[in-house]
């Protein structure tokens, strides 16, 4: 009964976010330019990653630097399962025979990537989830670095640092939009589930939560596995969006982009995760257009190269300066007005 009322109270959030994503897809469809189409695909993938990250960080309050490792695992599953067997034989001769012969559609690869990543999230998480705070953050980073070191050197199975090509490219925006919307719903469903609520209680009041019998490592592990699955599926789709994977695609650069988008949007908010991506991605895109040059009347106005990155950094700092808890803070979009979950209390220790 209580569950049902939570569901009814919060369902507006994923619906609004899905509508927003649909709006982006429609713009891309309406514009029809292929590079822009690809940009919107990128945005959807980024939504999947950031929402995946949110599922863990937002609910547990533990900063993870390691989630991109799961995207890496997922991306390589896509390479293992969708490249034509002949090409696989030359690039990755060490694959077992059954995998070598496999050629499945991209959506199945995304599911497989998610499952594979979830499995490893379970293995790593069983060890790491006992940690908390910054020790957990560093341990997740060490996990990322380990996965990267292994995938960068295991030539026979991952082709080492070389790009693995031949992954069928999917250039339609709809599968990516659906994936992003699914990720939003999964994240929402988890956050209102028994485990999600328990985890958030543990985030806000760890002592009280432990005292009331919440097994913190266990609920964290559940969140870790679910978010790992989302990241894995996202990684597989990422592979299909550009047709190749390399280990360094899934390393520090992507880690910091996703984390930044989440923190700028608001760490504790699903709406923040999605808005963080949409706002920062739009900003990047506008800056890129400005850099490429915009016709204003008779003259062309263009920013010098490199200004885009600098401006992005400055804008991020400014947003955080004025909204230290991110654009959304801890509140969600609910249609009527932002619903505040619980105010942050700085300095009450």
């Amino acid at each position: 009964m209580a569950r049902y009322s939570i569901l009814r109270r919060t369902i507006a959030t994923p619906l609004i976010l899905s509508a927003l994503l649909l709006a982006f897809a429609l713009i891309a469809w309406f514009v029809g330019s292929r590079p822009f189409n690809q940009t919107v695909i990128d945005i959807f993938l980024q939504v999947v990653f950031v929402v995946g990250l949110y599922t863990f960080i937002g609910n547990s309050g533990v900063i993870s630097f390691g989630h991109i490792a799961f995207a890496c695992l997922g991306g390589y599953v896509a390479a293992w399962t969708t490249i034509k067997p002949m090409m696989k034989g030359t690039a990755m001769p060490g694959l077992p025979d059954w995998l070598m012969q496999m050629e499945i559609p991209f959506w199945a690869a995304a599911l497989a990537g998610g499952t594979f990543a979830a499995f490893w999230a379970l293995v790593f998480g069983a060890v790491l989830m006992r940690l908390s705070g910054i020790a957990a953050s560093i341990a997740t980073f060490a996990m990322l670095a380990m996965v990267n070191a292994i995938y960068s050197n295991w030539s026979s199975v991952t082709a080492a640092t070389s790009s693995v090509v031949g992954i069928p490219i999917v250039r339609s925006i709809w599968p990516y939009m659906i994936a992003a919307i699914l990720a939003v719903f999964v994240a929402w469903a988890f956050s209102i589930s028994r485990h999600g609520l328990a985890l958030r209680a543990a985030r806000d009041e760890p002592t009280a939560a432990a005292a009331s019998g919440i097994n913190i490592p266990r609920v964290r592990l559940i969140a870790f596995v679910i978010s790992g699955a989302i990241m894995g599926a996202g990684g597989a789709l990422y592979a299909h969006s550009i047709g190749l994977v390399t280990p360094d695609t899934f390393y520090l650069g992507l880690t910091f982009t996703t984390l930044s988008m989440l923190v700028v949007g608001g760490m504790g908010s699903l709406s923040g995760a999605v808005l963080g991506v949409l706002i920062l991605s739009s900003l990047i895109q506008v800056l890129r257009w400005l850099e490429a040059g915009v016709q204003v009347g008779a003259s062309t106005f263009a920013l010098p190269g490199g200004v885009q990155e600098i401006a992005l950094g400055v804008v991020m700092i400014l947003i955080l300066m004025f909204r230290p808890s991110g654009i959304m803070g801890n509140s969600e979009l609910t249609g009527l007005r932002a619903r505040t979950e619980k105010p942050v209390e700085p300095g009450t220790d």
């Binding site: 330019s33 690809q38 070389s162 190269g305």
Partner: protein, 392 residues
């Protein structure tokens, strides 16, 4: 949101203007104008522009002027795919992609799936071609493995090197490629012996442990095959010499250039294979003329030999287009694949239906002595490296 669509509409209008124009030929550059790769793409692209200007001055290609469209990959793979699509949408007949295989591949794949020819500016991996991207993809440079093989065979024959040490930076495929070529050549040299091997990472702050391993050998090796690239190469070379190791150091072309030599004062016994010399002493006077022209156009002389493949690229492609009488992909590819030892300013070029890359090439050997680089020799490996060995 209205503003956004307005900007979008503006950019798409700009690009569609170039579409479906039959009175010109369009070359699309999906290369890095910003970010890390820019330093590598820009010189080769400038060289390509010089060749394009020469062709246009001489009346164009098939009587039509060559026009250039560009899109910035920002040294980012996802952006690379967009840049590829962008130049294709602007009507490119041929797509030029980033120098490095990893960064160029997304745009090349976009060209491939649209049935267009793609040329890597200077990629040296076999995958930058049929084996990686597909049947319409080419590279203008020479395989990294040829560099390693060239250095091994040359040092063995001309410098009497017998004991070799192999030091590999596992950072990139290019580095591994050099060492692969070295590994292929070494067993063919009867008295050559590999006395040790080690690996490091380009970003390693110190390679002291690797150096200690070399120093613990009973005797200093005759030659060290150093498979690495910038920026780690300078660090490795400096540390090797600082530790008092004086063996000859053999390299890939990636360390060509004099711009970094100030970091290792009085460097000697140091050898680099190059396709053409930037030092003004190329045996072919036409190369020196090109250098002068490049200096005139860009304001500075070429910094490394990686400037040259851009010129070769437009050269061979334009020849193939002339011979085919069209820019239509399959006809041009067929003409390119007919090229056997096609003379270019920077050595002969061969393309086959099996390999769109050079598995054998004439290299100039540049020796650095007391901090002064200069061409000392020329070498072509005795037999081409078989494709099967390259695919290992």
């Amino acid at each position: 949101m209205k503003k956004l669509t307005a900007i979008l509409a503006a950019t798409t209008c700009l690009s569609s203007a170039a579409l479906a124009d039959d009175d010109r030929i369009i070359v699309g550059f999906a290369t890095a104008e910003t970010g890390f790769m820019q330093a590598y793409d820009k010189p080769a692209q400038d060289a390509a522009m010089i060749r394009i200007a020469e062709i246009n001055e001489a009346g164009g290609l098939l009587g039509k002027p060559i026009e250039v469209v560009k899109a910035d990959t920002k040294t980012d793979r996802a952006e690379g795919a967009k840049a590829g699509l962008s130049v294709i949408d602007q009507g490119a007949d041929m797509v030029v992609v980033s120098c490095d295989y990893d960064f160029g591949a997304p745009a090349a794949l976009a060209a491939e799936s649209n049935g267009l020819i793609s040329f890597f500016l200077c990629a040296e991996s076999i995958k930058a071609g049929i084996q990686g991207v597909g049947p319409n993809s080419f590279s203008a440079s020479v395989l990294a493995a040829v560099q390693g093989a060239t250095m091994a065979e040359w040092a063995y024959n001309k410098k009497e090197a017998r004991t070799f040490y192999r030091l590999l930076d596992t950072w990139t495929e290019y580095n591994k490629g050099i060492c692969d070529g070295f590994d292929w050549m070494l067993p063919q040299l009867p008295e050559a012996k590999l006395v040790g091997e080690d690996t490091f990472l380009n970003e390693d702050a110190s390679i002291a442990a690797q150096i200690t391993r070399i120093k613990s050998l009973p005797e200093e090796p005759d030659a060290i095959m150093l498979c690495t690239m910038m920026p780690g190469a300078v660090s490795a070379i400096k540390q090797l010499r600082a530790a008092g190791i004086n063996s000859m150091i053999l390299n890939g072309s990636g360390v060509d250039g004099s711009y970094w030599l100030s970091a290792v004062p009085d460097l000697s016994n140091f050898y680099v294979p190059v396709q053409g010399s930037i030092y003004g002493d190329d045996p072919n006077p036409a190369v020196n003329e090109f250098n002068a022209k490049y200096t005139e156009v860009t304001g500075a002389p070429p910094a490394t030999q990686y400037t040259y493949p851009g010129y070769v690229m437009i050269d061979v492609w334009a020849k193939a287009v002339e011979r085919a009488g069209t820019t239509e992909t399959s006809a041009v590819v067929a003409e390119l694949e007919k090229m056997v030892d096609e003379p270019t300013l920077f050595g002969p070029r061969t393309f086959t239906s099996e390999l769109h890359h050079q598995n054998r090439a004439r290299y100039l050997i540049v020796e650095t002595n007391n901090g002064k680089p200069g061409v000392v020799d020329e070498w072509t490996i005795s037999s081409p490296i078989p494709v099967a060995d390259l695919m290992k």
